[in-house]
Amino acid sequence: MEPPKIWRERREKYLALGILCQECKRKSFPITLYCPHCSSENISELKLAQTGKILHFTRVTQTAEELMLYAPYIIGLVELDDGIKVTGQITDTKLEDLTEGMKVRMVFRILSKNGEEGLIGYGFKFVLI
């Protein structure tokens, strides 16, 4: 990952911010310049709900080199309590201990590492409540 990209995405990846449209009042994630529902430019930042439930989950064994740090890991589709759906890892647990609908909480973790001396990518994952 390149420094400009890490810097650009800091508010979404580090603070988990989406947008709230002031016209149609709908929420969305990630941050865009226009509301993806009504195309209005009249938008404001929105802090995503910090808890939600697991809709789908499975295991990832093979992926890009920089993401292999914690592989095999669990990837989940999570519906946050504000209705927004996001993709994120379910960590600090085992696949066999998970069931659909389980409640989770957002945590700030390392996502990727470009070798021993490369940049570290941070972002959100989820843990069971």
Binding site: H56, T58, V60, T63, A64, I75, V86, T87, L95, G123
Partner: protein
């Protein structure tokens, strides 16, 4: 819409698999030159080349079409079309539009990929990350396989689709692949073997995904006027439908994971263009990169009721010469999946069937044939319909 009629007048295809000895451009020029020979026309009559390739730029030569044209001694416009791993069908669609527009009469279309150069599978996984939402799916940890696992789970939950029903898709396709000379895997695999394989991304097992391999496929298309003016052309197959549409790239933005909206929209457009319905299709090549891919396809294309795809497959309704013959070539699963070449290879299978060149996998009484090529998890879908009707010949 333009009434101009478009025909496929020739095809060429290489064997799919691992070809360490072949340069990417040699693989591409092989398919292209075979297609020109098959069309029986002078190569000087070809006015343009559209080529589809997703990964060619990673072999440090993005303009593979240019090298292929040098090897075939052609000095024509060369345009690369990028619809990710559906670039082959994407190139075909653009060439179809060019003939329909009236500006061009005869075009070569090439799909090519050289994936065995990527000996480290992490590199290919990263490239495939570009076909899903790279920023908010792939970098968060998801992969194409894990997203197809969620789609499988959603279908299993909503329609009680079973593991046996899912596994019956690759079992059937491997059976068909035995009789396809260009297929990468010409052997059957038992249902038991699929079911007992290790689950890499549950419910997806080790033998479920199609393999990423090398291969090139090319076709020559021409207008009706061109065909009438060149008596050397012996065989032609009419293209009656060509459509493309898209859906939200990330699964977390979609309403449902148990249907591909882009397949539904695209096939509706293609059926309207061809002025037929799904009932008129006798044979189809669909995107079975994972077992759930074929089940979603046969439902969303309208061949079976929503939720009935798994049951229909287990009951043999999609076998060779049954209600509708699906993936007679062996599909992506047995033929192998060289991304950009796959969309063209699907079209070639239908052409071979219509020209009655499919030997032991020949389907009888074909009216219309359809192909469906999917990018990523369905962010973009292309559908083509070919006609075998008497009055079109």
């Amino acid at each position: 819409m333009s009434k101009r009629e478009v025909y496929i007048i020739g095809y060429g295809i290489t064997k799919f698999g691992e070809h360490y000895e072949l340069n990417p451009s040699s693989s591409a020029s092989q398919a292209l030159s075979k297609a020109i020979q098959d069309a029986k026309i002078s190569k000087d009559l070809i006015q343009s080349l559209y080529f589809g390739s997703m990964v060619s730029n990673r072999n440090n030569q993005s303009y593979i079409g240019g090298k292929a044209c040098r090897e075939c001694n052609l000095n024509i416009p060369i345009t690369k079309v990028d619809v990710g791993n559906a670039s082959g069908a994407g190139a075909f669609h653009q060439a179809f539009i060019a003939i329909k527009s009236g500006l061009l009469e005869c075009i070569a279309i090439l799909g090519t990929e050289k994936l065995s150069d990527f000996v480290n599978s992490s590199t290919l996984e990263k490239i495939l990350g570009g076909t899903i939402d790279y920023q908010w799916e792939f970098e968060q940890g998801a992969t194409l396989t894990s997203l197809y696992a969620w789609m499988s789970q959603a279908h299993m939950k909503e329609f009680n689709t079973t593991m046996e029903q899912l596994a019956s898709v690759p079992v059937k396709n491997h059976k068909n692949g035995v009789n396809n000379p260009i297929a990468q895997f010409r052997r059957e695999i038992s249902l038991k073997r699929f079911l007992s394989a290790k689950r890499i991304s549950p419910p997806i097992g080790r033998f479920d995904p199609a393999t990423h391999c090398d291969g090139s496929a090319a076709v020559i298309i021409a207008s009706k006027e061109f065909v009438e003016n060149h008596s050397e052309i012996e065989r032609k197959v009419k293209v009656v439908g060509s459509a493309q549409s898209s859906d939200k790239i990330s699964l977390h933005h979609r309403e449902t994971l148990s249907s591909l909206l882009a397949t539904q929209i695209t096939s509706k457009k293609a059926y309207e263009m061809a002025q037929i319905s799904s009932k008129d299709i006798s044979i189809a090549e669909v995107h079975d990169s994972y077992p759930i891919g074929e089940i979603l396809a046969i439902e969303d294309l309208g061949f079976f009721q929503k939720g009935e795809g798994g049951k229909a497959t287990v009951e043999g309704k999609t076998q060779l010469n049954s209600d509708i013959s699906i993936n007679t070539s062996g599909g992506l699963k047995a033929r192998g999946d060289p991304f950009g070449a796959t969309g063209i290879a699907q079209i070639i299978e239908i052409v071979q069937q219509m020209r009655r060149e499919a030997d032991k996998r020949q389907v009888d009484d074909i009216k219309y044939g359809l192909t469906q090529n999917v990018m990523g998890t369905g962010a973009s879908v292309l559908v083509h319909i070919l006609s075998n009707m008497e009055d079109d010949k």
